[in-house]
Amino acid sequence: MPFTSLFAEWLKGVQVLDFTAVLAGPHMSRVLAQAGADVVKVEAIPVGDTTRGLPYRFTGGQSGYFKQQNLGKRGIGVNLASEAGHRIAMQLAAQSQVVLENFRPGVVDKLGLGYEHIRAVRPDVVYVSISGWGQTGPFSRMTGEVRSTTSLSGLMAADHDGEVPGWERCSFGDTNASIHCVAAIAAGLLKARNTGASTHVDFSILEGLMATNVLELPEVLSGAGAIDGREKRTSGDHARVASGNFVCADGEWVYIRAVSPAAWRALCEIVELKGIAGLGFIERMAHAGQVYAIIEAWCASRGSGQVLDELGAAGIGVAPVRSVREAIADPATREAGLVQDVPDAFAGKVPVPTGLFASTAFGRAPQRPEPLHGQHTREVLTGLLGYSDAAVDELVAAGVVQEHPLPAVAP
């Protein structure tokens, strides 16, 4: 079923005002930019989004991290605490269907840029607030970044040996919030178009993680307790009999997932798990040790290619456990559009993982570069707000706005 229209046009004509920084917000607004929205990223001056300064910086001072999350946006530098800077923000808000922020709760209201302030000038605004803990509650004023919220969410709970998993390196809690909020933004735009009414989305990283915990939390809430009957469960995979990582005779690892009845029965037949093929999901837990021992022995007695072929042909979920390095090296990764060469102001072109929405299924549109800090200040003020160049000069001189201060560096 091929795509029917270029994703890069889905939000054409939508103006987005983006006060977000770091990851959860920028990842969300990058998707909107990839969908064709005009995203204007507002950064404080003189120092903008702190991720600009993370390690691995290109010649112009931009970190690769910042580049990846801010592709396709326009950037302006504004002193939001100044009267003139606030006026600029409100003028932009009046022209924007979508306004995004991920400050600590309370900060936007102090800046006079909260939902009610914006709604006064843009009655149909879709206003999204992403935070760690949510806009209300006893934790709300605490810094709520992804690591703290994930720790609390139950997803890092200890295994049966009391060991807590080490930290993951993809910040799922952040991007999970981003994607959920993209859905909410589209819904809000639809509502604004149909009714003219505004939408304020209060989304917390913690609650997004709770919603995604589709097995353990529902079990706990339903009163069933932990699903293997112990207070501290075995690790997630072992609770899902049978799924997990297994090493093959050639030393390669494969991941096997056989939890649906059909896949489970097929697995039992192939690896000769006798007498338990008819057991339900919960009943299998009692046999977990036996099940895993047999699968381990079966995998250990043949090469990974054979394991993948045999189980795959039987409709069982199975794949090689690849490293990120191996996945990057696969030519199909570029063919899928998952890594693309993106223009860089100083380095020519650099390879960047650009996400699902830039992939082949979505039309694989060329990706525009990330903004330098204040790169589009003049362009936005004159083009969107009608300021004269002289007025912009005055604002720059007064320290209200900042144009790209990075030194010009020869490619």
Binding site: T4, W10, L23, Y56, Y65, G137, E145, S148, S151, L152, G154, L155, D159, V164, G166, W167, R169, C170, T175, I179, H180, A183, A184, A186, A187, L190, H200, L206, M210, N213, V214, L215, E216, L217, P218, E219, L221, S222, G223, G225, A226, I227, G236, D237, N245, P261, F281, P320, R322, S323, V324, I328, A336, G337, V339, P351, P353, L356, S359, T360
Partner: protein
């Protein structure tokens, strides 16, 4: 049904089995859409058996988590034509795995299908070289996901179906965007969301870090983010996560751990130096945590506004004061993760009477409907 969600008035047909499509439908339901969950009467969604039965029902808590607030039906007999009619009555169709999913293409070819927008969840749109994936967690393994979650031997510690729910969330976002797109242009949207591609998208920071470390010829791929933000064990066996970044957080950390003498220590004051002296810093934090029970360690850390949190079990989480104050736990289930205009949809379960009334209307003239108590769903029998 909700009165305040932004998708109020929108009807989404969800066809097929599995966690990804169920989660996609749940997200759109959480935003106020009216979601019709359709299963094959002869082979219902396997997620029904995914865990302990939910409060007096036959199906699992997980299945109700995903589908309890949807209007649920099972279809028997003449499914392609019936699918076409139900698709025509909906604004968007989400398609997952299973027997009914295979009938989507034939249904689209029928006259009665109209021009529906369809978002289908597939294993991969462009599969990795030489692989035959399925639209489940295994597709994620091929992206490097499990490498991201641990070092050395692939870890077993993932606590949930991360690739599957992530694909579902992406499909929901695509679905919502497709709804908006159709309203603006009048054109239906058809698009496939690959679990493989969605997972690769999810781990893109780790991918970017590796690409950058290669480009910069660095041997320290962990230089992005904070490798020090790992769990530290406490005196009572509990654990906390502490995330130190920036100069201010470091100086407050010194106060929290009772080491004001280190406030200006060049080994720790700047982020870059902390990478170099990571083990020394870990030793300091280990010593602090091991000297205090978890709750006391947290009291001291939060007293200084250090980004940190206890590592909780799910059972502890639902008792947590922040969680309780926000109302995301609604009795024995989770409510919507969205607070929209100050309100959270409780995702009330859809009862038999509601579901019967709706499907009776939708199927009038071409099918009979009755309630199947064993499946807690309306049975649609095509005439």
């Amino acid at each position: 049904m909700t009165a305040h969600g932004p998708l109020s008035g929108v009807t989404v047909l969800e066809v097929g089995d599995g966690v990804p499509v169920g989660y996609a439908g749940r997200v759109l339901r959480s935003l106020g859409a009216h979601v019709l969950k359709l299963e094959d009467a002869a082979a219902p969604d396997w997620v029904r058996g995914y865990g302990s039965p939910f409060g007096g029902h036959r199906a699992a808590a997980s299945w109700y988590h995903l589908n309890g607030a949807k209007h649920r039906a099972v279809l028997g007999g003449g499914p392609a034509a019936a699918l076409a009619r139900l698709m025509a009555a909906s604004d968007l169709t989400l398609v997952g795995d299973g027997t009914l999913a295979h009938l989507i293409e034939p249904a689209l070819a029928l006259d009665g299908a109209g021009l529906p927008s369809v978002v289908r969840i597939v294993p991969a749109v462009t599969p990795p070289t030489g692989m035959m994936l399925r639209a489940d967690e295994s597709a994620g393994a091929a992206t490097g996901l499990r490498d991201v979650y641990g070092m050395g031997r692939p870890p077993e510690g993932l606590r949930f179906d991360i690739a599957e729910v992530n694909a579902g969330a992406h499909a929901a976002a695509v679905g919502a965007l497709a709804l908006y797109r159709r309203t603006v242009t009048g054109e239906p949207v058809r698009v496939d969301v690959g679990v493989y591609e969605a997972t690769f998208s999810m781990i893109e920071i780790a991918v970017q870090t590796l690409l950058l470390s290669q480009a910069f010829d660095s041997s320290s791929p962990d230089m992005v983010g904070s490798p020090l933000a790992a769990p530290y064990y406490c005196a009572d066996g509990g654990a906390v996560v502490i995330n130190i970044y920036g100069r201010g957080v470091w100086q407050r950390t010194c106060a929290a751990i009772g080491r004001p003498d280190l406030e200006d220590d060049p080994r720790f004051i700047e982020t870059f130096a902390r990478y170099e002296f990571g083990q020394e810093l870990r030793d300091l934090l280990d010593a602090f945590c091991l000297a205090h029970p978890r709750d006391e360690a947290m009291r001291r850390l939060w007293g200084q506004r250090i980004p940190s949190a206890p590592v909780l079990e799910p059972a502890e989480l639902v008792q947590n004061e922040q969680v309780a104050s926000r109302g995301i736990v609604a009795g024995n289930r989770l409510a919507s993760p969205y607070v929209i205009n100050g309100e959270r949809d409780p995702l009330e379960p859809v009862g038999a009477a509601q579901a019967c009334a709706l499907f009776e209307t939708l199927c009038a003239g071409w099918a009979t409907t009755d309630y199947r108590e064993d499946l807690d769903a309306v049975h649609i029998a095509v005439r």
